[in-house]
Amino acid sequence: MVAGQGTTPTPAPVLPPRSEVGAVGWARANLFSSWYNSLLTVIASAAVVLGLWFGLNWVVLDAEWGVIETIGGRFIIGGYNTDQACPGNDCFWRPQAALLMTTALLGMLWVVAGGVVGRIAMAVAAAAALCAFLPYSMERMGLDVRLLLLANLPALGVGWALARYTPVGKPRWVLVTGVSVFLLTVVLLRGIPGVWGLQPVPTLYWGGLTLNLLLAVAGIALSLPLGIALALGRRSDLPIVKLLCVAFIEIFRGVPLITLLFASQHLVPLAFPEAFPRNSLFSAGVVITLFSAAYMAENIRGGLQSLHPGQAEAARALGLAGWQTTLLISLPQAIRNVIPTIVGQFISLFKDTSLVYIIGMVDMVEIGRTFILGNPEYRISTKEVFIFIALVFWAFTYGMSYASRRLEQRLGVGTR
């Protein structure tokens, strides 16, 4: 309305009753709407207050966190840099170098994907760099270790700059780099016979969080495409393909992962040619991937079934070929619809990697357990050890949930 023209006063907007807005209104509507709601509110508040009181009391005053400090780096890399695994104890730089490559890769992903990936990349680099200032003696944690940890900050910057200013920043090349970083990490950790500084370290000694992450990353990266292929196969018109996919899915879903892990040491070597590695790590990786792929296939199939048949019809009517319809129309929508279950599957896979202890591998959980078994004087600190391990797992799984929620928001799931 033009100023000065206001001969007719605009009617004041009618406001809702005061009791329904603001903090008081919110509390009245949500906490004290009826007598039993009020009762629940009082009981729940009391429980929260008491829980926080005793919880914080324990965390700050009673808990003996010294055990975490004592186990220290073994949580991260297990027995990798011990005398048996690496005579001379000079293998510490190899996982460190792998971490640097990973941070650089995260820097590249930051440029390509942006948003939440950037925050995760910064969090990882910052956490690694902060570890350089842990209050250990210089004897226990040398200057070289600390500098390598600090180098994660420049590594992040290098990755970011590479992606930002060179053609390496194309998604295709970032994918290639990602696969290369993973393979290099495995080669670096494994070592090459006869090469100075790269003396072989048997996979038996790979352990700790590194082991959990290696298995999880390989499992996630391979089970998604495999699951998609199985889901499409199960919906195929070709009876043999369909039968094989159904059989695969039902067999791998129908057997406990622990059973598969036990069987893996004997069965996986039979299925792969001589050229493939023959060790528990490889077998466990294969089994975890296949197990997860079976579940993934059903998730994806659920997504495909949720699509309106009109979508594929419209695509076919436009002249798109069958594979184009699947690739461009059906799959993107199906996957978008089941992001929460896919990420749930990833989280569950990550946690399941700790089951490899039953075939003698020493993951982070197993390190905590064996440390306490081997050092009875620390038995009193069992709670602290497992709470710490739980927190580490939670930090990673929460990162995944957070990333998935942001991805859903960006793709507009549920709103369009």
């Binding site: 309106h308 019809e313 419209a314 076919r316 009517a317 436009l318 461009l328 507009g412």
Partner: protein
């Protein structure tokens, strides 16, 4: 198998001869024989369940027919995938429920098929898409997602998407049945303009006003058969069949 049918008249772009279709034991099409000339607008009417939707869906093989012959622009519709793809490129289709791709912007919805099927360069496809959006009256919606548009706007995008493949025939399967009354007109206006431009159209619709104004002829379906097929004015002024008269009196009130 001969793909060229020598006997058809050059003017007939669609020829159907004794087309039968069963869904399980249900006999949905019971010997449909008809033809559509180039540039003609045919409106298909009939009670629900009479097979009119099934009929136009057989023309681009969203449903396959088990008996009879369908020839589109000289290609016979057979199991041969090359023929099916060739025919689908020439035949555009607009659905009752729009069926826009919700994960793609309006622009990508329109350019997808030209770039992926006809291999048109992206810049060229974009320019053509913008022109089509101008034509259907919503160029300002180009970068939105389908879910952000009203039903009428979505249906106009769907028409633009079909036109982007430069089809020779457009099929409309009840294009306004899912729309609120105030949006029906904006879609019918686009279809009127399309008819005036000389496009061959087959329209399944209950919009009698539109049929009277735009159609060259009317196909009346009942129980899987064409029971009456005549030029528009004759059809409405002097319907021959009792079934047609009853149907018209029902929908005209």
């Amino acid at each position: 198998m001969t793909t060229e049918d020598q006997s058809h008249e050059a003017d007939d772009i669609i020829i159907c001869r004794d087309v039968h279709k069963w869904f399980g034991n249900f006999h949905a099409l019971r010997g449909v024989t008809t033809s559509v000339r180039r540039g003609q607008v045919v409106v298909v009417i009939g009670p629900s369940g009479s097979g009119k939707s099934t009929f136009i869906r057989t023309i681009n093989r969203l449903e396959y027919h088990q008996r009879g012959q369908i020839i589109v622009d000289g290609f016979e519709m057979t199991d041969d995938v090359r023929n099916i793809d060739a025919i689908r490129r020439e035949v555009g289709m607009v659905f009752q429920s729009f069926n826009l791709f919700p994960h793609l912007t309006v622009m990508r919805n329109i350019t997808l098929a030209p770039t992926k099927v006809r291999h048109v360069p992206i810049a060229e496809a974009d320019a053509a898409a913008l022109e089509l959006l101008e034509r259907v009256g919503i160029p300002e919606q180009a970068d939105k997602y389908p879910g952000e548009l009203s039903g009428g706007q979505q249906q106009r995008v769907a028409i633009a998407r079909a036109l982007a493949m430069q089809p020779k025939v457009m099929l409309f399967d009840e294009p306004t049945s899912a729309l609120d009354p105030e949006m029906i007109k904006e879609v019918l206006d686009v279809m009127r303009e399309l008819a005036a431009s000389g496009m061959t159209m087959i329209v399944v619709s209950h919009e009698i006003g539109f049929a009277k104004e735009v159609a060259d002829s009317i196909l009346m379906f009942d129980e899987g058969k064409v029971i009456e097929e005549r030029p528009t004015s004759e059809f409405f002024d002097h319907p021959r069949e009792d079934r047609t008269k009853a149907f018209l009196s029902q929908i005209l009130g």
